[in-house]
């Protein structure tokens, strides 16, 4: 972990750190692109799910971590994306003549369902965003949870369209790579497609949250009144974050439906949104890497525990969440970075750098500027100290 010298203007910081970061990203994407071909179908499927759910968690993080809005209705857009893609895939499948070649079918059969899912989920997110963000900080949590309940109940009530609890069974994607076709047990070439789309979306999100829009989101998260005083339309910034996140969730949902051969109304349930919350928070909210990391860790844990002690997973998740909230609110990423920084400081005592990312990492809400500063200084310990200070006010 290289430690750079402190500079007076933190805004200049990301540029100087761009190169090692870019290298790291390329390395990870390269590994993710090459390694799975050597693995079995099961491990490949697990990696595929990590990518898709990681994208879902990241889209949640844009709303939660960056804009500070806790949405329990994020599953709605995932579900809409999944069903939009599923319905289109089924329609194309039934209309296509069995003898038709894969050539044009491949392009249409993959692109159309993806666009349909993205469009359905994204448009509804855009439509609902201005209404939902009006409800205020606490009202928003409840109102979004209610949208999840309404979507879930509506989907349950139209069994003819959604298949209810049993769900719809979908044909595998009409996609092939040199004779290797996508199957239900082995994603095969679909893995490449998912990796490409997820990497592109992550890059797009990265460009957005590191640009002026990201600054506006974080400003609204940290201090709404100040944002207003600076001339920002707070509701519009929030609605933008919500729509951006919803579109990403819809894409993740479409990819999920197209690669898992099955989709049921379960995807609308608010517990799916809560999953995204868990993964994001554990990995590190308000960062790009955190949600992906948290998702990967938890999916691997679930896979590992399902063989050993299936009921243990929810309890473990609960305990991990409590631990995260109490001991390292910056998440796994914050913890690792904090340890690395501590090690670096121990090795080179003279150079104490406080990086822009460190300042960005801390999750707090409302007017917690004091906590913020403390969190930047001493990591988890600082947060606890700040919390104690706050508490003494009662």
């Amino acid at each position: 972990m290289p430690v750079s010298k402190p500079t007076p203007a933190p805004a200049l910081r990301p540029r100087s750190r761009a190169r090692p970061e870019l290298l790291g990203v390329l390395l990870v994407v390269g590994l993710l692109a090459l390694v799975p071909w050597a693995l079995g179908p099961f491990e490949r499927g697990l990696l595929l799910r990590m990518l898709i759910w990681g994208l879902f968690a990241l889209s949640f993080d844009v709303v939660f971590g960056y804009a500070g809005l806790l949405s329990l209705g994020h599953s709605v857009y995932f579900g809409l994306g999944a069903y939009g893609a599923a319905w289109t895939l089924l329609a194309l499948h039934s209309s296509a003549s069995p003898g038709a070649g894969l050539g044009t079918g491949m392009a249409l059969g993959v692109v159309l369902p993806l666009l349909a899912g993205l469009g359905l989920g994204g448009l509804i997110a855009i439509g609902l965003a201005p209404l939902l963000v009006r409800t205020g900080r606490h009202g928003f949590i409840i109102a979004t949870a209610v949208t999840a309940l309404i979507a879930f109940t509506l989907a349950q009530s139209r069994r003819d369209l959604t298949g209810g609890d049993d769900g719809l069974t979908l044909p595998p994607l009409p996609l092939a790579l040199g004779g290797w076709r996508v199957g239900c047990a082995d994603p095969g070439p679909a893995y490449g497609l998912v990796l490409l789309l997820v990497a592109m979306t992550v890059a797009l999100y990265g460009a957005i949250v590191r640009g002026p829009v990201g600054l506006a989101l974080r400003l609204v998260r940290e201090n709404e009144r100040r944002a207003e005083a600076l001339g920002f339309d707070v509701l519009r910034v929030k609605a933008l974050a919500f729509a951006l996140g919803g579109a990403g969730a819809a894409l993740a949902g479409a990819l999920y439906a197209l690669t898992s051969c099955h989709v049921s109304t379960r995807v609308f349930h608010w517990l799916v949104s809560a999953d995204a919350l868990i993964w994001t928070l554990f990995g590190g909210a308000g960062t790009l890497v955190g949600p992906l990391l948290g998702t990967a860790v938890f999916l691997a844990l679930r896979e590992g525990l399902s063989g050993l002690w299936p009921p243990g997973y929810p309890i473990l998740v609960g305990l991990a969440l409590l631990l995260t909230v109490r001991a390292f609110p910056e998440g796994l990423l914050g913890l690792v970075l904090g340890l690395a920084r501590g090690a670096a400081r121990w090795a080179w005592p003279g150079r104490t750098g406080r990086t822009a990312r460190e300042a960005r990492n801390g999750m707090s809400d409302g007017d917690g500027t004091g906590e913020k500063r403390a969190a930047g200084r001493g990591g988890a310990q600082g947060v606890r100290r700040a919390a104690g200070r706050r508490q003494r006010r009662f």
């Binding site: 500070g68 806790l70 009006r134 309940l149 109940t153 919350l277 929810p314 609960g318 909230v325 706050r390």
Partner: protein, 297 residues
């Protein structure tokens, strides 16, 4: 036809009181502590499971079933309330300045409680006998007597809570803290104690609802999951922090749902009722009684 309409309306009325009990606890905790308690559904579930476990344990005792059930109704909610007080002190108090973290902590609690019960209570579905068998004749149908008694007890409990909030010193404190925490503190009100007691009262109300419905639903670990969001809906339609609003909205939601269930499938009736409530929210985003924090209610 008329009998069916009446039957469904009565059902809606009975369930409306149950939802009102749950939503009232949720709203009380929100109003005083400004915490959205996601674990609230788990306390409702604990009430039902607690009643089931207690009645199983007492099955050797020769007393009439009704007496044992009444005992469960007296014992279980306060025990769950005590658990709520402990949880507030140990878990929520240190986080209270950070609303988002309290949501997450209560969600973690929900997972742990639910899965713990799942482990302790294996098997699929558990049912309890009704303490009051028999029914009331109703235009050729028979309406179960216990349902009516349930609505009566729930309404009585709500009345007691109202009395408690408006006629006791603690009630005055709680309402003061909810209006202005800092000022209440400056006036010497023991705010932390008010927090603890409020959470205890809220969780006890949810548990009471759980005990009451235990004989008419399937008792299982996940029973609090969906009713929690319904209580959320009721709270926000009634107006965040408004106790009267929560009761009115709960009755409204369940009566509309019951009425719709005369013509369409139950799930569709639910979906339509929820959509109607959502439409109501579009017209009045602050909720039915959600005027900018009135001095009471």
């Amino acid at each position: 036809m008329l009998a069916l309409v009446l039957f469904q309306l009565l059902n809606g009325f009975v369930w409306g009181w149950v939802v009102a009990l749950i939503a009232l606890g949720l709203n009380l905790v929100y109003g005083v502590l400004r915490i959205v308690n996601v674990a609230h559904g788990a306390f409702y579930m604990l009430g039902a499971v607690g009643a089931y476990a207690l009645l199983e344990a007492l099955s050797g005792w020769a007393a009439p079933y009704g007496v044992k059930f009444a005992l469960a109704l007296l014992v279980v909610p306060p025990s769950v309330g005590l658990l709520g007080v402990l949880i507030e002190g140990a878990l929520l108090r240190p986080l209270i300045a950070k609303p988002v973290l309290t949501v997450i902590a209560t969600f973690a609690l929900l997972l742990i409680l639910q899965q713990g019960v799942q482990l302790a209570l294996p098997g699929e579905v558990h049912t309890l006998a009704k303490p009051l068998p028999g029914g009331v004749p109703l235009l050729g149908l028979r309406y179960p007597l216990y349902h009516l008694a349930l609505a009566g007890v729930a309404a009585l409990l709500l009345g007691l809570v109202a009395l408690f909030l408006y006629k006791t010193r603690f009630g005055v404190w709680a309402r003061a803290v909810r209006q202005d925490r800092e000022l209440a503190l400056a006036l010497g009100i023991p705010v932390p104690r008010v927090y603890g007691l409020t959470v205890g009262l809220g969780t006890a109300l949810a548990a009471a609802a759980g005990v009451l419905v235990a004989p008419i639903v399937a008792v299982e670990a996940t029973m609090g999951m969906d009713i929690l969001i319904e209580a959320f809906m009721v709270v926000i339609v009634g107006g965040l922090g408004s106790l009267r609003g929560a009761v009115v909205a709960a009755l409204l939601l369940r009566l509309v749902e019951g009425l719709l269930a005369v013509w369409v499938e139950p799930v569709a009736a639910r979906a339509l009722a929820l959509l109607l409530m959502g439409a109501l929210l579009l017209i009045r985003p602050e909720g039915l009684f959600g005027a900018p924090e009135p001095e009471e209610a």
